[in-house]
């Protein structure tokens, strides 16, 4: 972890010592949960170049897994974590193995379809999921033999929990991006045909990236459910998926610090500009357009990402690649 990141981490760590306002902390916790989501989407879209417009479905998977485990079998918050990540990852595996043979726009639309199907299913299967009325779940409790600390609706414990999770996820994804696996992903994103020629099993690796990203979303869902104490389908709609994508675009596709920065910016700014609440969607839309037109690498994205997103002068080459890779598909 470099010095700048450490410095920022310490600032966030110390923040509650100066400002104990519950509302402020709550907003930062929300920002933190979104940061985890953006970090996850970063793995899928940033590292591997796959646009996932149904990302909220995996967020929902994590949240509902905790809700159902807690309500039906009394699982505690902490024990549920692996299950939430696994469930979301498994859902990612299911969707990914179908969808990942598609490219670009079509992949985006299919993921959108999956996301909506998930949301509607959650809404309709009311005997299982509570339908549009949602499910109320218990807040996390750290307890030993009867005595314990119930997180309740106090924002402070969630703040530190979220901060820790962000650090862990950031470290994991950072390691991944620098590993052989990460380089393979970059190769796939740059030029899938060439990557395949070099012996990279593109199908499997893309699926792996997809699943990891989805599992991270599951973790975010786990946190969200515990903090909110309530899950319902409206929290996981297409607008949410787009918001996460917008945060990634703003921060910088492929950049970890960018992911966190984008999430914090696009969570805090609408809250700060309370009177302009009704302009929220406008803000997200404008961010996306402006970024794509003027600074595709986002606020903190690196040079490499700029190169990737610059206009290509040879669209024909790309199309030829697609035709070729159809044959080379694993």
């Amino acid at each position: 972890m470099n010095k700048k990141a450490l410095f920022v981490f310490l600032i966030f760590l110390a923040f509650p010592l100066f400002d104990r306002n519950q509302y402020h902390l709550d907003v930062l916790v929300n920002a933190g949960i979104y940061a985890i989501l953006v970090l996850g989407l970063n793995v899928i879209t940033g590292y591997c170049g796959l646009l996932n417009l149904g990302y909220a479905a995996f967020f929902a998977a994590g949240a509902y897994t905790y809700a159902l485990l807690n309500l039906n079998w009394g699982w505690s918050f902490w024990v549920s974590l692996p299950a939430c990540a696994a469930c979301a990852g498994a859902l990612g595996l299911l969707f990914g193995s179908c969808a990942l043979r598609l490219r670009g726009d079509y992949l985006a639309v299919v993921t959108l379809g999956f996301g909506e199907i998930t949301r509607i299913a959650l809404n309709n299967l009311d005997s299982l999921t509570g339908g549009p009325n949602g499910l109320s779940v218990k807040h996390p409790v750290i307890g030993f033999a009867g005595k314990g600390l119930d997180f309740g609706i106090n924002s402070l414990p969630y703040y530190y929990l979220t901060l820790s999770v962000i650090m862990v996820v950031a470290m994991i994804t950072s390691r991944l991006s620098l590993s052989r696996l990460g380089r393979a992903w970059i190769a796939i994103k740059e030029d899938e045909v060439a990557a395949a020629c070099m012996g990279i099993n593109t199908g499997k690796l893309k699926l792996f990236a997809f699943c990891i990203g989805c599992a991270i979303a599951g973790v975010a869902g786990w946190l969200f459910a515990g903090k909110q104490g309530f899950v319902s389908p409206e929290s996981f709609d297409f607008v949410t998926s787009v918001m996460i994508a917008a945060m990634l675009v703003l921060g910088g596709i492929g950049s970890i610090s960018g992911s966190i920065a984008g999430a914090v910016a696009l969570t805090v700014i609408p809250e700060v500009l309370q009177p302009l609440q009704q302009y929220r969607m406008f803000l997200f839309g404008a961010v996306m357009i402006v970024m794509m037109l003027f600074r595709p690498q986002g606020l903190l994205g690196g040079k490499r990402i700029l190169e990737e997103l610059k206009p290509e002068t040879e669209r024909i080459r790309q199309e030829e690649d697609e035709v070729l890779s159809e044959d080379l598909r694993q």
Binding site: G104, D105, V110, G113, A245, M281, F282, M288, I289, Q318
Partner: protein, 301 residues
Amino acid sequence: MSHSEIFVQQLINGLTIGMIYALIALGYTMVYGIIQLINFAHGEIFMAGAFLGLTVFGLFSPALKLNSALMLILMFVSAMFVCGLLGGLIERAAYRPLRKSPRLSCLITAIGVSFILQNLMMLIWGPVNKSFPAFFKHSALSLGPLRITFMQGFIIITSLVMMSALHFFVTRTMLGKALRATSEDMTASRLMGIKVNRVISLCFLIGSGLGGAGGVMYGMYYNSISFHDGYLVGIKAFTAAVLGGIGNVPGAMLGGVALGMLEGLGAGYLSSEWKNVFAFLILVGLLLCWPSGILRKLRNE
């Protein structure tokens, strides 16, 4: 009502909404055919058409009578005109600069435009559902227990007329030929002296105009419009476009009608609460297994 009569009635209902889907699908298919972009904002343009029709009605209704042909023409023409301009403007401002960029950028931009439009509509017309005037009341043609209301008939006939006009334009006129040529091969068209930028703008103009018309019909049929309706109808219309073969104009018409009917039958016979899931399942199924759709698309991808 006998079983077959119920079935036919479901088909009639499905056909009506299918025509609206078809009009909107044309916008998607034409744009995709020419620049390979899924114009996410198209659903919002459709919705804007509905709101514009409502506004025009509000402006003129004390003076002009409801049901009058003049009022209808006014609503349609103004909605189509403004939506067409809107579509053209969006293309010029947001999509043209990114024409050479990777697809990811364009898609994200399109989503951004759609969000902005939706928010604008909410700000201009308010967040509450707006009541759209009812034309023709419930007057209907009854054939035994079957009913086809004048409203339904109007939608079906008007859509057919518009689609025929488009078909004629695309196949019989010079400009239409230019459009088809640019869809086939943009570089070659440019070499042949076709002003490609103008053709693309025209494409957006026409597609958006048709979307606007669809919006007015949607408002007239359901009598209640809201700024967030565009998203869902847009996705369904896109599904219809893919169903018929994306890039293929007659395909979009066919796809729209097919989707409308499939949706109606699914909702009527299986379950109405899963109605939207059917559309999404069809979308996902098509893209995964049968992306070329019913009719082959115009250009090979």
